[in-house]
């Protein structure tokens, strides 16, 4: 790791200061680093003046960056052959820029679209054909083996994706998840549309992570454009992010209860989740926090009136939430289904780099709010997790703990009676030839945006990573040797984003 440069979250760097290594040194150092326990935050390709380059951001308890020129013949020996931590990233590099990771054990398309360079397609796909093109799904042979295919259109009001189970009776050998149905070309839009559209697109990368993604973008732009955010705005942003976390966790705990046929908590939490969305509406006029966070601050001031409304409503809701949680977690019929279901062992979780509550439920304590704090997090207490067995029960328990932790954070911040400055849309000029990476702990886990600018201060490359990019593999692994009827339960315990992954 000796050549990688240690950086801060949201630190602006001149791109010339990023170590530019020969490819094999870049590769070897990343592999050595990964072997020592580091995880990949960003690893992507980009094109500049006709030449292909790569860039990686790794994390331990610190962040590190380095780049390299891509090998000239558009292929390179896959890092994944030696460390699983790179598997999705290398597939994505192949899909986006036509650089082939040779020796990758499962070099499959990620989202199913043409590459950006016009190079020969790594997967030999003809994109006038429907997804999955010429990709043969993984199959298991055997007299008693059968296949179950679900989606892309599902039975509920949820996003599309395709799931293939290889089963023996009710037992799942293997689950293959094919996404890409939600691909909207977000990264390319960021690089080509007028600047004014950026926050609107960031807010819709994943609707349930509106604040998480938009905050990453706002911080990255603030860093590149030298914008300062006042304390009052930081408080509003932190509260909004925690409110998003609570609403989603509550909704999911209700849905988990429904999936084991215990209906009362599902009805109660279904409604209570809406109450938290309404609190976001009090903050910024939208239930998902849209239109609230913008580069330079927040668009709405949280005054005494809003503080009082939030405090009163939280005081009313918190005991209700505790009681309904107690109802779920003390019901033997619920616990019998949650316990030891869909377990991902720590070793596997570490290998595939699970993040967020899915990672913490396996004993990977990483929380970006603690490791790389932004906004108000440096001054706020961290959470700890009592149960880390990697099963559905652990994931549910972590969420229960996080609801209470986030509530405490919001109450602490509401007592700081600092108003944000009133919002005036700032003049934004991005620094030329610069780099920034932004990392935040959104409700599902680590969200990261990375921006490279060119000599004119225009965006050369915009990279988005949703926590689901890591965690979908975790869901697939959790189904191994599990009854297929436990799929809804495992799925909801992860509750991953389709559009966040598909971008």
């Amino acid at each position: 790791m000796e050549s990688f440069l240690q950086i801060q979250n949201n630190e602006r760097l001149a791109r010339a200061d990023i170590p530019h290594l020969p490819f094999f040194q870049f590769r070897n150092e990343m592999l050595a680093f990964a072997k020592d326990g580091a995880q990949v935050v960003q690893f992507f390709a980009y094109e500049e003046e006709g030449s292909m380059k790569m860039l990686a951001v790794m994390r331990t308890d610190k962040l590190y960056v380095a780049g390299c020129d891509a090998p000239e013949d558009d292929k390179f020996p896959a890092l994944t052959a030696e460390s699983e931590k790179f598997h999705m990233f290398e597939r994505e590099i192949g899909e986006q820029y036509g650089l082939k990771a040779e020796g990758h054990p499962w070099l499959k398309m990620v989202r199913y679209h043409k590459n950006y360079t016009g190079k020969k397609d790594v997967f030999d796909n003809d994109y006038s054909q429907d997804i999955p093109g010429n990709y043969p799904y993984f199959t298991v042979d055997g007299e008693t083996v059968h296949e179950v295919a679900v989606g892309p259109v599902h039975a509920g009001i949820i996003e599309p994706g395709h799931f293939r189970f290889q089963c023996c009776g009710e037992r799942v050998f293997h689950l293959e998840i094919q996404l890409g149905y939600q691909h909207r070309g977000v990264e390319k839009l960021f690089e080509s549309v007028p600047f004014k559209r950026l926050p609107i697109i960031a807010e819709t990368i994943a609707g349930d992570t509106t604040i998480g993604h938009n905050l990453c973008q706002a911080q990255a732009i603030e860093s590149l454009a030298d914008l300062k955010v006042d304390e009052g705005a930081s408080i509003v942003r932190t509260i909004a992010l925690e409110m998003e976390r609570i609403a989603n966790h509550i909704g999911d705990l209700g849905a988990l209860s429904l999936d084991v046929a215990f209906n009362p908590p599902a009805a109660y939490f279904g409604r209570i989740r809406g109450e938290y969305l309404n609190l976001s509406q009090i903050l910024g006029g939208n239930r998902f926090g849209r239109g609230l966070v913008r580069p330079g601050g927040v668009t709405h001031i949280m005054g005494d009136e809003q503080r009082q409304l939030l405090s009163e409503k939280l005081a009313e809701l918190t005991p209700e939430v505790e009681h309904v949680n107690d109802l779920i977690f003390s019901a033997p019929s619920v616990m019998a289904r949650f316990d030891d279901t869909g377990t991902v062992p720590y070793e596997n979780a570490e290998k595939i780099g699970l993040v967020g509550y899915a990672g913490r439920a396996c004993g990977l304590s990483y929380d970006a709010r603690v490791s790389f704090p932004t906004e108000c997090y440096a001054d706020l207490p961290a959470n700890s997790n009592a149960r880390t067995d990697g099963d559905v029960c652990s994931r549910a328990t972590v969420r229960r703990e996080e609801i209470m932790h986030s509530t405490a954070i919001i109450n602490t911040l509401l007592e700081k009676k600092v108003d944000a400055a009133s919002y005036i849309p700032p003049e934004v000029n991005l620094a030329p030839d610069s780099f920034v990476v932004s990392v935040n702990e959104a409700w599902r886990g680590e969200v990261s945006h990375c921006i490279l600018t060119d000599g004119n201060g225009d965006i050369l490359r915009y990279k988005v990573k949703d926590p689901s990019f890591h965690n979908w593999t975790g869901l697939a692994l959790s189904l191994r040797d599990t009854g297929i009827s436990d799929f809804p339960l495992c799925n909801k315990s992860f509750n991953l984003s389709y559009c966040g992954f598909d971008i």
Partner: protein, 247 residues
Amino acid sequence: MLKVIKNRIEQGHRTSKYPKEPIDLYKRFRGMPKVEQNCPPELVQRCADACPQECIDVDSRQIDLGRCVFCGLCETLSEGQFVKFSTNFEMGTANRDDLFTHGDLPALAEHSKKHFKKLFGRSLQLRQISAAGCNACEADTNVLNTPFFDLQRFGIQFVASPRHADGIHVTGPISENMRQATITTWESVPAPKVVIASGACAISGGPFHGSPEIVGDLNKLIPVDLYIPGCPPHPLTTLHALLNYFK
């Protein structure tokens, strides 16, 4: 068991009385925009230039609610002199053109197709298709099934199979990768059937307009009967539109 009863008592009865009684949303909620006709033209131009969705027409001073994401920037910039967002959430329309507005939409109930009222007024089964929707439209549609809104008391249900449905409710800008699945699902619904475009994405491509990876407008694929604007539409916007169009 005792805990179930205690929780039941604590939770009480929470279903809203809407539409029999009006609901007041918090004043910051951005619903139907009201356009001030006497505003100086420079200010209109400034708002139109700054609008991230480019949905303000300078000459007619109309806002395209089919593209607007209700971000509120025009209200901020004009300090309410050009546009003010009201808390009125009743914004569904039966025609795409009606969504170009100064803030005065035609009454939806009078513009719905009569045979739909007769066919589906007492029972409406919808199949939801998320076609690259970001999950906000989906979440705020799903919430209609929670006790506060309790959609089923109106005889409206979201069903699992298109074969069981009277129509489709589409969210998202329809990615190229969902084009075929959207058409196939629509074809699987027995006629006569209704098509609802929900949210800025399904109506106009929304935040993703211009991307080569999306279709961007449901009307390009399938003729739309009912438009529900918003990013996402508030659950009450959807509820109002469904009740007025079909009841």
